[in-house]
Symmetry: C2
Subunit: 376 residues, 2 copies
């Protein structure tokens, strides 16, 4: 496995660039090829989600994606839909449109037109192109999210944005993945769904789902014969790395928290146990405050769909056993030390079956409130 | 309808008192009579919940309740259960036990024994007794919660504690209700369930459920012939008032927010719509920050179980229409003015059916994090 230095532009056939203004950002990625995608489950879908999901359904491929940040173009009715169609028409051919930002406002067409024209004429096929695009799609993200890997001949690279509203099953996030591997539409879609179920569908920031979530995977179709296992491994890896970056960059967060539930009765219960722990504001503030209040984890578990046998329950934090046989077995001072790291791994062992699920999330700091008060 | 000035001690046959120490509080309420109760749905149940629910099931009546704050006596195994039995044995007869506070710690038996003995000898049957008891059961509650009303001959009075972990369906809350009305066990239970479904089960603070939630209703059995309607009305009123006090006193909150969803397709969807709006941290920070970001309400609605027709949706804040026909119809400055009050009423009209549900909650301030970091 080799890391690709130039982000999505590491792939021949992918060109990108982006610009950021005071309130808005715009990215253009050019890559013509077979495309599959997954979109938000929120019942209020943004106009670009409606437009782009339909476009992919009809054509099975895209030539470009045009992505704006700062305005979600959601809850904007027929006029908002027309704006999405218009944005697509600014480029040639089959252009997908994605938006992220404030809901209920129309996009600034003059700003978008001017910058789309600039980007069209200034696409880059190097590191800078990928970085500029990743930067332009940020809203409250504090760092850009890009990664590329090569396994054998197979390359997979992606950029993403995320940060609030993460859960359940994606959440204000956009992700654009590219590969050179040429597989059938069905195989690509199956692999993407599997990768998402271990990555983007396993992150929790604040328990909200957004109107605009989209994950797209486009193939440059240049590597005709390639190893399926290498492709799946590369796609899984890129998806997991981007998902962890999104969880770590949860609004106002100071820590990345990984919760693995082991030996659950079934997958649904294992996933629910991990998610409920990371969704609980009381657990999240405990990690932020580096306190020893482990009862909050137990209470969150009891609040999940998982069956819990208190007496069997075992919990490890950073590989140290803190709960065993229905009681807290570590000293308060030791627990405080364990939760003081920047990246924390919690392992919950339900001792009831064989199912396992890992979920990523973050702590809750007063800055979460400050960011979301300011973002309007 | 007349308000009763002396809280739960307004009822003949109810005596109470409470003490608060540095870390703990203890309340004793004496009232011998028919008792019904509802308890937490969290799968991790605190020892006093297991003990008291069983006691009520067996005897159908209580003589006293002994309530400590500061230690939840939850996730304490067999020894914790024995502690609950021991607490009950400190009093004569059938004594229910309730606890609230930190999970995973054993109760301080010496402190409880000393203060239970003091309270036994110093029960009061006036205003002060009710107030002291309501004060002793507080944890992070910023004010005491008590109310009593008389309708016709029927009296109903109660004290409660709540504040974090409120939702779904009760949440770190304890409530002790008393009435003079003598009805059958079944009728009392049915009325209590109905009252709870319109009050304690309709409040949302942070989306967590606790290990210790308990609502008890005891009748002094002194009013044999009384009007059923008056009783139900009084019980509903007391429950709703206490529920609203709990919502208003949500940890770190600055505003009480009431969300009514009208014209839903069915009750489940109407309730889910109201709850999801009040559960969303993004909506809660919007109200705290008094911002105009109404798209967050729409997104939260889309995240609920309710079917949403964007074009039909109407939303009023403080009786002013802000959303109509799939768009935001009020100016930003007007919306900011509407959300600047201390008590805010949001009315969502789905225009799809006839069902309605009202839920109470609060905003989310940086103080929520501070409180929960400090509470360990």
């Amino acid at each position: 496995m080799k890391e690709l230095e130039e982000g999505i532009c590491s792939l021949d056939g992918v060109e990108a660039n982006g610009v950021r203004g005071e309130d808005y950002g715009l990215a253009l990625i050019r890559c013509s090829g077979k495309t599959v995608g997954f979109f938000t489950k929120n019942k209020v879908q943004a106009a670009p989600v409606k437009f782009t999901s339909q476009l992919i359904k009809e054509n099975k491929r895209l030539d470009n994606v045009l992505v704006n940040s700062g305005c979600a173009n959601a809850f904007t009715g027929q006029k908002g839909y027309e704006d999405a169609v218009w944005m697509s028409s600014l480029l040639d051919g089959k252009t997908g449109v994605c938006s992220t930002g404030i809901i209920g406002k129309r996009v600034d067409k003059a700003w978008i037109e001017k910058n789309a024209n600039y980007l069209k004429d200034n696409l880059l096929s190097d590191k800078k192109g990928s970085k500029n695009a990743a930067d332009a799609i940020r809203t409250t993200d504090s760092f850009i999210k890009e990664i590329g890997v090569q396994i054998g001949d197979v390359k997979v690279a992606g950029i993403a944005k995320g940060s609030g509203m993460i859960e359940p099953d994606m959440g204000t996030m956009l992700c654009f993945l590219y590969t050179n591997a040429d597989f059938s539409q069905n195989f690509l879609k199956r692999c993407l769904r599997k990768a998402m179920d271990k990555s983007f569908n396993m992150i929790v920031v604040d328990g909200d789902t957004s109107t605009n979530d989209s994950v797209l995977l486009t193939s440059t179709e240049s590597l005709e014969k390639c190893d399926k296992k290498n492709f799946e491994e590369a796609l899984d890896l890129v998806s997991e790395k981007l998902a962890k970056m999104i969880a770590k960059d949860g609004e106002g967060s100071t820590k990345l928290i990984e919760v693995t539930t082991k030996e659950g009765r079934n997958n649904r219960e294992a996933k629910s146990a991990s998610k409920e722990v990371l969704r609980s504001p009381l657990v999240k503030t405990m990690f932020y405050g580096e306190s020893s209040n482990l009862g909050r984890i137990v209470s969150a578990l009891g609040n999940s769909e998982a069956f819990i046998d208190e007496e069997k329950l075992e919990i490890m934090i950073q590989d140290t056993k803190v709960i065993e046989g229905g009681r807290i077995v570590a000293e308060d001072s030791k627990i405080k030390e364990l939760v003081s790291d920047d990246e924390i791994h919690v392992e919950i062992n339900l001792k009831l079956g064989v199912s396992e699920a890992t979920v990523w999330g973050c702590d809750l700091s007063p800055r979460y409130v400050k960011i979301n008060v300011g973002y309007s």
